[in-house]
Symmetry: C2
Amino acid sequence: MQGLIMSHAISDAPLTLNVELGERSYPIHIGAGLLGDPRWLEPYLVGRQVMIVTNDTVAPRYLERVKQGLSGDREVREVVLPDGEHTKTLDSVSLIWDALLAAGFNRRCTLVALGGGVIGDMAGFAAACYQRGVAFIQVPTTLLSQVDSSVGGKTGVNHPRGKNMIGAFWQPRAVLIDTDTLRTLPERELSAGLAEVIKYGLIRDAGFLAWLEAHMEELRALDGAMLREAIHRSCALKAAVVAEDETEQGVRALLNLGHTFGHAIEAHQGYGAWLHGEAVGAGMLMAAELSHRLGWLDDDDVVRVSAILEAAGLPRVAPGNMTRDDFLEVMRLDKKNLDSRLRLILLRALGDACVHDATPKAELDALLETFPRG
Amino acid sequence: MQGLIMSHAISDAPLTLNVELGERSYPIHIGAGLLGDPRWLEPYLVGRQVMIVTNDTVAPRYLERVKQGLSGDREVREVVLPDGEHTKTLDSVSLIWDALLAAGFNRRCTLVALGGGVIGDMAGFAAACYQRGVAFIQVPTTLLSQVDSSVGGKTGVNHPRGKNMIGAFWQPRAVLIDTDTLRTLPERELSAGLAEVIKYGLIRDAGFLAWLEAHMEELRALDGAMLREAIHRSCALKAAVVAEDETEQGVRALLNLGHTFGHAIEAHQGYGAWLHGEAVGAGMLMAAELSHRLGWLDDDDVVRVSAILEAAGLPRVAPGNMTRDDFLEVMRLDKKNLDSRLRLILLRALGDACVHDATPKAELDALLETFPRG
């Protein structure tokens, strides 16, 4: 695989990856300069009517460029929502439905999600439920959404009682990842995206983890070829997992490494206070420490996890105001739990995650009590 | 087929029909005394947690009986919504989600829809989108929902700008049709249900249409064997169509005979003023008259359609306050339209419906101007 990676890096051409899901299969195109080039967007549109869903941070930067990538005879409308995780609500999705109906859009239309994971999740959910399902295309503009939420068909919104509690599985017709959009991404959000990239190495690919340890500096300096490579490798790992298990009955749960703890942090702090990737970063270190307590990881493994998170600019502590019980209260509601049993994703080794539903309460309590707080 | 119908009618045992949809296949059980008998509900429940969704008309009559059909170790909750089409909104579905989350329901739970089509559509949509999809079971208590909305997996809610505009395709695990529930159904609602029964004969089965002409009086007198037969035959016809075309790309559109005109009536009069089946009844006569104008039906055919609607106790006129333009305004938004082209379901003969997207404007205008008003 190392040879393959290097050969890709020589050319500037976009890479294409196919997510294999039978009749719901779709391509992911990754490269520089995709926005504004009709070769990448036009082939995937259904019908004449196009609704671009974006937010007020992304719209001034990229909305016009996306429109340039559409042919002149399209009926193009847009919904510009406020930026931020706090907007990921049913009310925001209702605004999208209102706009579609006000414009008289029928079921042969396409929604284009232009923005980060929040926009992608909401536009995807809006598409899933508008007239019982219309086409949509993901144009993710943050590293996190490029490597995570744009692959796999999970869409939805938060509820005051829990993250992503309302939603649907709905696959896009295509995902267009323009690495140029990362040039305007705040450094903190780049780090948050790197947390998910590191996650793929930790759960499934020790070789990729080593590659990331070697190239973290270039990634943070926005080296185009390295970014394209890391995104391609991440999407390929996620696509393989999703193709095995589209509706999360089995192996797909591994993608939630760090997420059970991370969701608890996000929910307790209020959505948006911690970036999702930051919470997942701390959560992955918690999962690694718990795996160490169970005798699966050795000291050096945990040090490597901690070091790569630090190199990516991620937090390695939990919030100072969060008790053991604060964690447990949110974790009880986690979607992975079956009946009333807590299920966690842990590491048998670096590059080898597993689903674990028999964690001794004493070990979990000890972790939640002793894990460093910021 | 006549022989098959007669042989069924001899026994009192429930009839079972399988809707063939691959891994989403499910049975429909039809008979007397199904509610309260654990043999019919228990086998289809997923997980321990059960949420019964019903309304304040049905709950006093049947909620306790359904609970008697559940084993003692289940965690059973209920949501009782107000009765009526005006409650078929996203806000009502949100109440179901709130109740599920407040009770800590995880994704291994089952929603039971106990009521008419409004309850079935909302509970189904709530199930489709709760934690991206949980199990649900339909227990329809009106004739309309027994022969129509409980088969096919359409779920959703209305929007101020259009009926069923927000929703999803989501299949139940089973449908339990207890014909005893029709004994408490108002006569007007029984007639509305008969409109959909007649529809199946008109679109696909001239033999069934003749059977209905012969037995309409017994059906309106709630003869149990005749009801079971009519429901079974209707569900079988719908199931065959749905199995051919689950997501309504082709033949399933035929099930919308009378619905384009009918939806226009409902939307213009305000949802609930006309019952859905009443609007469909008038809409079918409009479709028959338009088919006559196109030279497909002869005078006698139209008279037969009018006569069976009258025998079923259905209206055969459009609302007195509704102009041609009132019809056209709503019809323009119909989900069947592709791009901006109006599509109608018409009759080439009694028992043979077709999709038609080239109706001359003059013929449509003439129908909408001359069709009798009430």
